[in-house]
C-alpha cells in the first residue's frame, strides 16, 4: 500500500506525508500543536504493526488478576503510561454502551451478582467480629471471676456457620459475575472488531490512501485490546469498588459512628496523595512515552536501512545517536517508574496510620466500654479494605479515560464516509465483450485539485491499449477509475455500453483482471495464492495458469512446490517471482479485460518476453490495458495513449507517434540517447 501511495500521482512532495519526530517535538515546544495532536502524529508514525503491538504498556492481560488487597501488586495508576483524554467523553461513552445493549440482560445480572457478592463479603468482618467479641466476653467474665462463666461456643458456632454460608455465597456470586462478564466483554469486542472489518470493506480507496497503515491497524489491535480488557475487568471492578466503599461505610456506621469518623480521618490523606503522585507520574510517563517513540523510530530506521548504514560505514554514528536517546529514555523511565512506585508505599503508610489510629482509639474505647473488642477487629479489617477501592477507582478513572479515547479512535473509522452503495437495480453482463468507453471524464483525488480534465477513450474488444507517460501523469489513475476504485466527478465510463455505476462493483471487477506492480500475496501456500484468482479453481487450471505465467518452473524448484507457504511479508521468494505469481493469478481469473500496471517491472526482460509471448494468446481475444516503463513492451500495442499531467496528449500506434515526432518520440528516443555511463 505504501508503494501505492508513492505511486499515487496526486501526492506532491512535501505537501502530504508525515512529519518527522524531531519536527513534531519542536512544534510542541513552540506551542504550535498540543500534546494530544503530537501524540496522534507519533501514533501515526508507528508503521510496523509489530512495533505498535505492545508499546511499553504494562502487561494488562485479559483476565490477569487485578484485585490485590495487600500492597505490592499494583504498580500505580501511572503504570499504564500516558493517559489520553477523549474529545467527547460523554458521547463516546454512550456509543460504547450502545454496543453493550444486546447483552442488557446479562449486564443486569452482572450488576446484581456484583452487588450481592461484594455485599456478602463486606458483612463478613462484622460477623466475625461478633465471634471475637463473644470469645473476649467469656474470657473477661472468667477473669473477673464471674461464676460459671464460659465461652459460649454454641453461639460462636452459629455465627461461624452463618459466616461459612456467607463466604460461599459470596464466592459463587463473584465467580458467576466474572463468568457472565467474560462472555459479554469478549463478544462485545468481537462485534466491534467485526463491524470495523465490515466497515473497511465499504470504505473507498481514498481512505486508505490518506491514512497510514500502522494507524488503522493500531486501532483494530491496540485500541480494541484496550476496550476489551476494560470491559472484562475494569467495569466489574468499578462496580465492586463503589459497592465496597459504600458498603464498608454503611457497615462501619452500624457498628460505631464515632469509630467510623476516626477511621475516615485518613481518607482525605489517601485521596490527596494518590492524586498528587498520579499527576506527577503522568508527566514523567508522557516524557517516557515520547522518548520511547523516538527510540523506536531510530531503531526502526537504522534496521530498515541496515544495508546503507553498513555501506557508508555509519555504524558508530548510529550507535552514538542510539545511546544518546537510550540515556534520555533511562532518565525519563527511571523517574516515571520511581514516582509511580512511590504510590504503593505511601498508600500503605497511610494505611498503617489508619491501622494504628483504629487500634489505639478502639483500644481506648473498649477500655471505656464504648465498643466491643470484636468491633475493633472488624474496624481493622474494614480500614484495610477501604483504601483499596479508593486507589482502584482512581486507577479505573484513568483506564476509563484511555478506553474512551480508544473507543473514539475506533468510532472515527466507523464514521468515515462510505462508498456510494451499489445500484439496487444493477445490470449484470452475461458474456462481457470488453468494449470500454470513457467519455468526458473529469477526476481529481482531492476536491479543487482536478487531475483529469476531459478524458475520452474508445476501446473495442480485443484491442491492446498501452498507456505511456512520465511518473505522475495519471496512468494508474485511469486504472483506478476503470475498476471504480474511485468515482469520476464528471462524465462516465461504460463497459459494453453499460455505465459502470449501474453495475455492482463486484460484477464490474469480475470483468477486469488486474496485475499490479505492487504484488500482494497473503500468508498461505502458493497454490492458494494463485487460486485466489478464481473461486473453486481446479488443480489443472492452476497448473495451466502458472505455466502460462512462467511461474511453474520456479515453483517446482521450491522445497514444497505448490504447497510452499509464503511467509508474512512473502519475503521467501523474490520480487520477480512474486510478480509471476500475481500474473498467474490474473491468468486464472480469465477476465474479459486485462489490466497490467507495471506488471513485469521486476521480472527480467527475458522472462518478460516469455510471459508476453504467452499472454499474446490471451490478449488477442481480450481487451487489454498495459502500463509500462519499458517502451519495448508497448511497441506492439494497437493504440498507445500518451499521458501527461492527467490528460491524453497523443494517441496512435507506434509508427504514427514516432512520425509525429511529438512527446512520445521524444520519450522513446531518450531511451537510447546518452544512456551509457
Amino acid at each position: 500500500m505504501k508503494k501505492n501511495m508513492n505511486k499515487n500521482p496526486n501526492i506532491k512532495p512535501g505537501v502530504s506525508g508525515k512529519q518527522d519526530m524531531k519536527k513534531i517535538r519542536k512544534m510542541v515546544q513552540a506551542g504550535e500543536i498540543t500534546r494530544e495532536e503530537a501524540r496522534e502524529r507519533f501514533a501515526k508514525m508507528q508503521p510496523s504493526p509489530e512495533v505498535a503491538e505492545n508499546d511499553g504498556k504494562p502487561m494488562k492481560g485479559l483476565g490477569a488478576p487485578k484485585k490485590p488487597q495487600s500492597g505490592g501488586m499494583r504498580m500505580g495508576p501511572g503504570m499504564r503510561g500516558d493517559v489520553e483524554k477523549a474529545k467527547d467523553f460523554k458521547g463516546t461513552l454512550k456509543r460504547l454502551i450502545g454496543y453493550l445493549k444486546p447483552f442488557k440482560l446479562q449486564l443486569w445480572l452482572v450488576l446484581f451478582l456484583a452487588i450481592l457478592g461484594t455485599a456478602s463479603s463486606i458483612v463478613g468482618p462484622k460477623i466475625l467480629g461478633k465471634a471475637t467479641t463473644e470469645l473476649f466476653k467469656g474470657l473477661m467474665m472468667r477473669m473477673q471471676g464471674v461464676p460459671g462463666a464460659v465461652i459460649d461456643f454454641e453461639k460462636i458456632a452459629v455465627i461461624m456457620i452463618w459466616l461459612v454460608a456467607l463466604y460461599i455465597i459470596s464466592s459463587i456470586f463473584t465467580y458467576l459475575n466474572q463468568f457472565v462478564m467474560a462472555g459479554v466483554a469478549q463478544r462485545t469486542a468481537y462485534n466491534m472488531r467485526t463491524s470495523l472489518n465490515d466497515k473497511l470493506a465499504r470504505l473507498p480507496l481514498k481512505f486508505f490512501d490518506d491514512k497510514a497503515h500502522g494507524d488503522v491497524l493500531s486501532r483494530v489491535t491496540n485500541d480494541m485490546d484496550n476496550i476489551a480488557s476494560t470491559l472484562q475487568q475494569s467495569l466489574v471492578q468499578l462496580i465492586t469498588s463503589v459497592v465496597t466503599m459504600v458498603g464498608i461505610i454503611v457497615m462501619m456506621l452500624t457498628i460505631s459512628p464515632l469509630m467510623t469518623l476516626i477511621t475516615l480521618i485518613t481518607l482525605p490523606l489517601s485521596v490527596l496523595s494518590t492524586k498528587m503522585i498520579a499527576t506527577r507520574s503522568q508527566k514523567q510517563f508522557i516524557k517516557q512515552q515520547r522518548t520511547l517513540g523516538q527510540l523506536n523510530g531510530h531503531v526502526e530506521e537504522m534496521y530498515t536501512g541496515h544495508r546503507i548504514v553498513k555501506a557508508f560505514g555509519k555504524e558508530k554514528d548510529s550507535i552514538e545517536e542510539f545511546e544518546q536517546i537510550n540515556d534520555e529514555l533511562y532518565d525519563a523511565g527511571q523517574k516515571a517508574q520511581f514516582i509511580s512506585g512511590i504510590i504503593m508505599p505511601v498508600m500503605s503508610f497511610i494505611n498503617n496510620i489508619g491501622y494504628v489510629v483504629v487500634t489505639v482509639a478502639g483500644g481506648i474505647m473498649v477500655t471505656k466500654g464504648a465498643i466491643a473488642i470484636g468491633d475493633v477487629q472488624a474496624f481493622i479489617q474494614y480500614s484495610r479494605q477501604f483504601t483499596q477501592p479508593i486507589a482502584q477507582t482512581a486507577q479505573i478513572a484513568n483506564i476509563l479515560q484511555s478506553t474512551i479515547a480508544s473507543a473514539e479512535r475506533v468510532f472515527e473509522v466507523l464514521d468515515e464516509k462510505e462508498e456510494i452503495p451499489d445500484n439496487t437495480n444493477a445490470v449484470v453482463l452475461e458474456n462481457p465483450r470488453g468494449d470500454v468507453l470513457v467519455e468526458h471524464v473529469e477526476f481529481g483525488y482531492r476536491e479543487n485539485d482536478i487531475l483529469m480534465k476531459d478524458m475520452n477513450i474508445d476501446v473495442k474488444q480485443g484491442h491492446t491499449i498501452a498507456i505511456v507517460g512520465p511518473t505522475g501523469a495519471g496512468k494508474t489513475t485511469l486504472v483506478n477509475l476503470l475498476m471504480r476504485f474511485y468515482e469520476v466527478s464528471k462524465g462516465k465510463i461504460t463497459v459494453d455500453g453499460v455505465d459502470i455505476r449501474d453495475m455492482k462493483r463486484g460484477d464490474l471487477r469480475c470483468i477486469f483482471g488486474m496485475v499490479l506492480q505492487d504484488t500482494w500475496l497473503f500468508n498461505g501456500t502458493i497454490h492458494d495464492n494463485i487460486a485466489y484468482g478464481k473461486e473453486g479453481a481446479t488443480e489443472e487450471e492452476i497448473m495451466k495458469a502458472s505455466k502460462a505465467a512462467h511461474a511453474d518452473h520456479f515453483i517446482r524448484t521450491l522445497p514444497d512446490g505448490y504447497d510452499t507457504v509464503l511467509n508474512e511479508d512473502a519475503s521467501n521468494i523474490s520480487q520477480g517471482q512474486k510478480q509471476l505469481l500475481t500474473i498467474a493469478r490474473a491468468i486464472l481469473a480469465d477476465p474479459a479485460v486485462l489490466i497490467l500496471d507495471e506488471a513485469t517491472s521486476s521480472v527480467d526482460t527475458r522472462t518478460e518476453a516469455y510471459i508476453q509471448h504467452a499472454m499474446i494468446e490471451m490478449m488477442k481475444v481480450r481487451t487489454s490495458f498495459v502500463i509500462a516503463h519499458r517502451l519495448s513492451t508497448i511497441r506492439d500495442a494497437d493504440l498507445i495513449l500518451v499521458m501527461n499531467e492527467g490528460d491524453i496528449i497523443e494517441t496512435g500506434n507506434h509508427e504514427e507517434l514516432m512520425n509525429a515526432k511529438g512527446f512520445y518520440a521524444d520519450l522513446y528516443n531518450s531511451q537510447f540517447m546518452g544512456q551509457e555511463i
Binding site: G61, P65, E301, P345, I364, A589, R630
Partner: protein, 575 residues
C-alpha cells in the same frame, strides 16, 4: 530468561540493598500485629490507656520506618530495572549493528525491531516486577509462617491443612490457564495478520471481488480469538473466588480453634487477632506469587528472542592484523569467487573471476535471480565468500577493516533508503564534512537539484521517516547524490534507475558519465540499451558468468546475451 537475568550482575549491590530493605519492610509489617496483640492483651484487658497510646506511637514509628524502607527500595528498584533495560537495549542494538546482512536477514528486520524495542521493554517490566514482588512475597510468606508458629504452634497446624489446598488450586488453575494464555496471544496475532493483509491487499481483494471471502477469513480468526478469550477469562474467574473462599474459611477455622485454645487458657485474644492477620498476609503473598506465573511465561518468550540476538555473532569481523590500504586506487578483482546463501541448495555465485580498473565501466546483466545484486554485495563484503577471493586495490577484502573498504565505495542500492532529516543531511550521509557546494554539486549531477529547489526549505526541507513524502524516483536520485558526494574510487549502481522516467534517466546518465570518468563503475542493469557502451559486460546466468566482453563481442559469442538483447531491442538497434 535466567541467562538474561544474569545481566543484573552489575547491579548486585543495589539488588542486595533492595533485598535487605524489602526484608526489613516485611518484618516491620509483620511486627505491627504483634504490637496490636499487646495492646489488646495488656492495654485493653487492664484498661491501661497510657500503655495503649505508647504502643500506638511505637506502631506509628515502625510503620513510618517501613514506609521509608519501601520508598528507598522503590527508588533503587527503578534504577536497577530501567538500568537493566537500558544496558540490554544497548547491547542488542550494538550487536545488530555489527551483523552482516547474513545474520540480519536470518531474523528479519521487523522481528529485530520488535526484539530491540518491545521485547526489551517487556523484560524491563518483568525485572521491575521481580524486584518489587518476588522478594516481597516470599519474605512475607516465610515471615508470616514463622510469626504464626511463634504465636501459637498448635493453631499454626491450620496452615498445614490450608496451604496445600491453596497451592493445589493455584497449580491447577495456572496449569489450565497457561496454555490458553499462550493460545490467546497466537490467536490475537492471527487476527492482526488477517487484518493487516486485508489492508495491504485492499486493491487486489477488491479487484478480484473477494471481499466476502476476506470477511469470512477475518470472522473465523475473530471468532476463534473470542472463544479462547472467553475460555481464558472463565478459568481465571475461578481463581479469585476460590482463593478468597479458602482464606476466609481459614480465618473462620482460626477463630473457632483459637477460641478453644483461649478457652483452655493456652492463648490470648490479642494473639488470635494477630494470628488472623498473619494468615491473611501469608495467603496474599501466595496470590502474588501465583500472578508471577502468568507474567513470567510471557516474558520468557521475549527473553528467548533477545537471547537469540545476543547469541548470534557476526560472521564478518575485522582481521586482527590489518593490511593498510596502499597507493593503488579503484582496482577490483574477483578470483574464482563462489557463494552460497545459507540453506540454499544451489550456489548464488559460481566461480566468478574478472578485473575492473579505474576509468572503466563494468555492467552486469542477467535474469531475475541470476546473482547480479549478490555479486556487487561481495565487493562491499556484505557477505563472506565461500570460495575464492575478492580483492580491492590488490588487497583481499578480508584483510582490511570494513570501514576502510567501504570508504572506497559509493553504493547506490536497488531500493533507495533515506533517513529522517533534511535533504542536505541525507546527502551528507555519504560524506559528513561535505561543503554546501559539494552537496549542491552532487544533487545537480543526480538530477535532484530541480525538485529539491521546488521544495519548501529546499536543502533544509525534511524527509519523513522512510522517505514517504517524496516519490520513488526522487528517492533514487537522492540516494545517487549521496553516493556521488563521497567522490569514491568505486561506484556501484545496483539497478538504481528503475523508478526514473526515460527523460530523467537519460539526463542523469549523461551527467554521471562526466562525473565518474576517473572512477571504477559497476552497474547492475535490466535494460541492455543503458549499458551497450560499457567497457565490459558480464552476463550472469544462474550465478555463473555466461559471457564477458563488450556489446559487440557478446553479440557474437554469447547466446544468453543475444536473447536478452533481442527481447528488448529491435533489429536496427542491435548493431
Amino acid at each position: 530468561m535466567v541467562k538474561l537475568l544474569k545481566k543484573l550482575k552489575p547491579f548486585w549491590l543495589s539488588v542486595t540493598v533492595i533485598t535487605l530493605l524489602v526484608f526489613f519492610q516485611s518484618i516491620a509489617e509483620l511486627y505491627l500485629p504483634n504490637i496490636m496483640s499487646d495492646i489488646v492483651d495488656t492495654g485493653i484487658v487492664n484498661g491501661d490507656t497510657d500503655y495503649i497510646i505508647q504502643r500506638g506511637l511505637i506502631m506509628l514509628a515502625i510503620a513510618a520506618g517501613a514506609g521509608v524502607f519501601t520508598i528507598v527500595a522503590s527508588y533503587l528498584t527503578s534504577k536497577v530495572a530501567v538500568g537493566f533495560g537500558k544496558n540490554l537495549r544497548k547491547q542488542v542494538f550494538k550487536r545488530v549493528e555489527s551483523y552482516s546482512l547474513h545474520e540480519f536477514n536470518k531474523i528479519g528486520t521487523a522481528s529485530l525491531i520488535t526484539r530491540t524495542t518491545n521485547d526489551i521493554n517487556q523484560m524491563q517490566n518483568v525485572v521491575m516486577m521481580i524486584l518489587r514482588l518476588m522478594i516481597y512475597a516470599p519474605v512475607m510468606f516465610i515471615g508470616g509462617v514463622i510469626m504464626s508458629i511463634q504465636k501459637d504452634t498448635k493453631l499454626a497446624m491450620i496452615l498445614v491443612v490450608v496451604l496445600p489446598i491453596l497451592l493445589l488450586v493455584i497449580f491447577f488453575i495456572v496449569k489450565k490457564g497457561l496454555p490458553l494464555f499462550k493460545a490467546l496471544q497466537k490467536k490475537l496475532d492471527k487476527v492482526n495478520l488477517v487484518f493487516r493483509e486485508g489492508l495491504t491487499g485492499i486493491r487486489v481483494i477488491r479487484a478480484f471481488n473477494r471481499t466476502d471471502h476476506e470477511s469470512k477469513r477475518f470472522d473465523g480468526a475473530n471468532m476463534d480469538l473470542t472463544e479462547t478469550g472467553i475460555k481464558v477469562n472463565r478459568i481465571m474467574a475461578i481463581m479469585f473466588p476460590v482463593m478468597f473462599l479458602i482464606i476466609n474459611l481459614a480465618t473462620i477455622a482460626v477463630v473457632w480453634f483459637g477460641g478453644h485454645r483461649i478457652d483452655a487458657g493456652a492463648m490470648q485474644v490479642g494473639d488470635l487477632m494477630a494470628f488472623i492477620q498473619y494468615i491473611m498476609r501469608i495467603m496474599f503473598s501466595l496470590m502474588m506469587l501465583s500472578m508471577m506465573f502468568i507474567f513470567i511465561p510471557r516474558a520468557s518468550a521475549s527473553a528467548e528472542r533477545i537471547n537469540e540476538v545476543l547469541d548470534m555473532h557476526p560472521e564478518i569481523n575485522d582481521p586482527e592484523t590489518v593490511t593498510e590500504c596502499g597507493s593503488k586506487k579503484g582496482y577490483i578483482e574477483f578470483k574464482n569467487v563462489s557463494f552460497n546463501y545459507p540453506g540454499a541448495e544451489e550456489s548464488a555465485l559460481k566461480n566468478i573471476s574478472f578485473k575492473a580498473s579505474p576509468g572503466e565501466t563494468t555492467a552486469i546483466i542477467g535474469g531475475t535471480g541470476s546473482g547480479k545484486s549478490t555479486l556487487v554485495s561481495m565487493i562491499l563484503r556484505f557477505y563472506e565468500v565461500a570460495e575464492g577471493q575478492v580483492l580491492v586495490d590488490d588487497i583481499p577484502v578480508t584483510d582490511m577493516t570494513q570501514e576502510c573498504l567501504r570508504q572506497k565505495i559509493g553504493y547506490v542500492p536497488q531500493q533507495a533508503v533515506l533517513f529522517t532529516g533534511s535533504v542536505s543531511e541525507n546527502i551528507r550521509y555519504g560524506k559528513s564534512d561535505a561543503t554546501n557546494e559539494e552537496v549542491v554539486a552532487a544533487a545537480e549531477t543526480a538530477q535532484a537539484a530541480e525538485f529539491i529547489n521546488e521544495r519548501e526549505g529546499e536543502y533544509n526541507s525534511i524527509i519523513a521517516q522512510g522517505g514517504t513524502n517524496i516519490s520513488g524516483g526522487q528517492k533514487q536520485r537522492l540516494s545517487i547524490a549521496r553516493a556521488l558526494v563521497r567522490n569514491p574510487e568505486v561506484y556501484i549502481f545496483d539497478d538504481s534507475f528503475s523508478a526514473l522516467d526515460f527523460k530523467t534517466d537519460a539526463k542523469l546518465r549523461k551527467a554521471l558519465k562526466e562525473k565518474t570518468s576517473k572512477s571504477t563503475v559497476l552497474i547492475v542493469a535490466q535494460r541492455v540499451s543503458t549499458i551497450m557502451n560499457a567497457d565490459r559486460i558480464i552476463v550472469l546466468d544462474n550465478g555463473s558468468i555466461n559471457g564477458i566482453g563488450t556489446h559487440k563481442e557478446l553479440l557474437q559469442s554469447c547466446d544468453v546475451y543475444r536473447e536478452i538483447v533481442s527481447s528488448q531491442l529491435s533489429e536496427e538497434e542491435m548493431s
